[in-house]
């Protein structure tokens, strides 16, 4: 893990790097020995590209978080791994729920394909430029994004034989 100083050094390097907006790194967070960079959503591809040049060349995971009721509400986290230095860094961005759009990183990181689809499915974050942005775990005609915090647990009736005909989409 980069220590707290190492994280600040990476953040400073990235702020000074060419081709990167100086406001791309919004904040750093060092918590329980885990380093996190909080970035501007528009510059996510550039930041991940710059981190890749610094050795973080493996994307271990990508996941969505809903910070309801905070705004901007939705978050996308990218867990990067440096295999030769055995180092991890988390890159985090936040987008509002009104029009959650983030540039897809799938063209640069093919592993993000399924994972971005999952975040889209569960949180409704639209990844611009994703080659095949469809629902992945929920049915394709499903409405809503079930992992959002305001989506009720158990809000859907369980369909048994006796209430089969009452459910949505049944032939009546």
């Amino acid at each position: 893990m980069p220590d707290a100083t190492g994280l600040e050094l990476i953040a400073r390097e990235l702020r000074a790097a060419d081709g990167l907006d100086s406001g791309a790194i919004l904040d750093t967070l060092f918590f329980r020995n885990r380093a996190t960079l909080i970035v501007e959503p528009l510059s996510i591809r550039a930041v991940l590209g710059a981190l890749r040049e610094r050795g973080f060349s493996f994307m271990a995971s990508l996941h969505g978080v809903d910070y309801y009721p905070q705004e901007p509400r939705l978050g996308v986290l990218y867990e990067l791994l440096d295999m030769s230095g055995v180092d991890r860094i988390t890159v985090k961005l936040r987008v509002g729920s009104s029009s959650p759009e983030v540039d897809s990183v799938t063209p640069d990181w093919p592993t993000a394909n399924h994972q971005e689809r999952e975040v889209y499915d569960m949180f409704g974050v639209v990844f611009r430029g994703h080659p095949d942005l469809r629902r992945i775990l929920m049915p394709e005609d499903y409405e809503g994004h079930p992992q959002r915090r305001d989506f009720p647990i158990g809000g859907e009736p369980v369909i048994f034989t006796f209430n089969e005909s009452d459910s949505l989409g049944s032939a009546q």
Binding site: F31, R32, R34, T36, S57, F58, M59, A60, S61, H63, G64, V65, D66, L77, E79, M83, V86, R88, T90, W109, P110, T111, A112, N113, H114, Q115, E118, M122, R135, I136, L137, M138, P139, P146, Q147, R149, F151, I153
Partner: protein, 418 residues
Amino acid sequence: MNSNLSDYRRREQSITMAPLQEQLSDVETVGQELFTINFGPHHPATHGVLRLLVTLEGEVVRDIKPIIGYVHTGIEKTAEDKAYWKVIPVIERMDYLSYYFNSMAFIGAVETLLEVEVPKRAQYLRVIHMELNRIMSHLVWLGTSALDLGAISMFWYCFRERERILDLFEFSSGQRMHTRYFQIGGVIEDIPTGFAEKLRAFVEEMPTRIDQYGALLSRNEIVLQRLRGTCPLNAETLLTLGVTGPLLRAAGNPWDLRKAAPYSSYEDFDFKIPIGTVGDNYDRYAVRRAEMYESVKIIGQALEGLPEGPHITSDRKVALPPRHELATSMEALIHHFKLVTEGMRVPPGEIYYPIEGPRGELGCFVRSDGSSKPARVHMRDPSFVNLQALAHMAEGSYIADLIATLAMLDPILGGIDR
């Protein structure tokens, strides 16, 4: 001579195959036509309810689109409505062949948030159970994969040894699967009397069993023809696709979190990381089989070096007080009541905790908002990520090799769909 034949025989001999063979000679135009078939979700070779849309050119696979979600049960959502310690049973049911690993990834994340120190004995007991689980998972993989290749006896042999492991799980926790043995801060109970002897007998016997699997399969002509050289994928492509675990190691990259970033005292044990050379299906088979030997070695060392001491942390805000204290101590009773009714409050924060599962990097992301229920639980399941590599592996190979590759990929649909 012909006149002696019956009408039937004469008619039979007059039939010529020539028109059919003329059509077959036109096979090139037939071969250019692509057709898409639906493979699964209810197909024994898909190892669960995986559906593949396979585009074929003749018998050659040109494109694969996996369709998943048939066993999506919303475990991540369910976890948000449960106290931390009640999440463990549901999270174990994600990847149903690596339940100890699922709970370890989740518990590790929560323990990091809580900054709880786990006693050494609990760490060793966790290692013993995780490595038993790894062998068990590999046995199911080996048995079902051999079944896909047409060898049914392997299935019985593998499940015979798997039964012994499940008996050990039952001995230590009362359950054969989804044991809820790991708890935040340690393990729920110390191993019972007699467990060590039973485990020692298993550790002594298992290497001879793995030898037998090798004798049956490793130089078997059918296995060699089906696996050697089929569907290789190099380490660079695997890394861009996020593939970890035995699949990556088969391609020659010795990445293993147990060695690279040890957790739960893995640094105390002496074991090797088996790797392959070309990354074909045979290497995938060989790496997993060799991993079973290493797991047995780790179990043996952990059992011999098992430290004395408590099996769970003494932090009463995290772990239940011992049963005998409840009768005499009011404080213990209060702690017990608070833990069972409300659960523990976890400091706010976000943690991603990766461990080395039987299929690769199994990471659990937990976000706490300071309450007694997690605000978000996400499992980075290796099967889910590794599945993306299937199309890259099997493109351009025969459909029969696709079955073998899927078997060697070892996807667990419970983990993919969660």
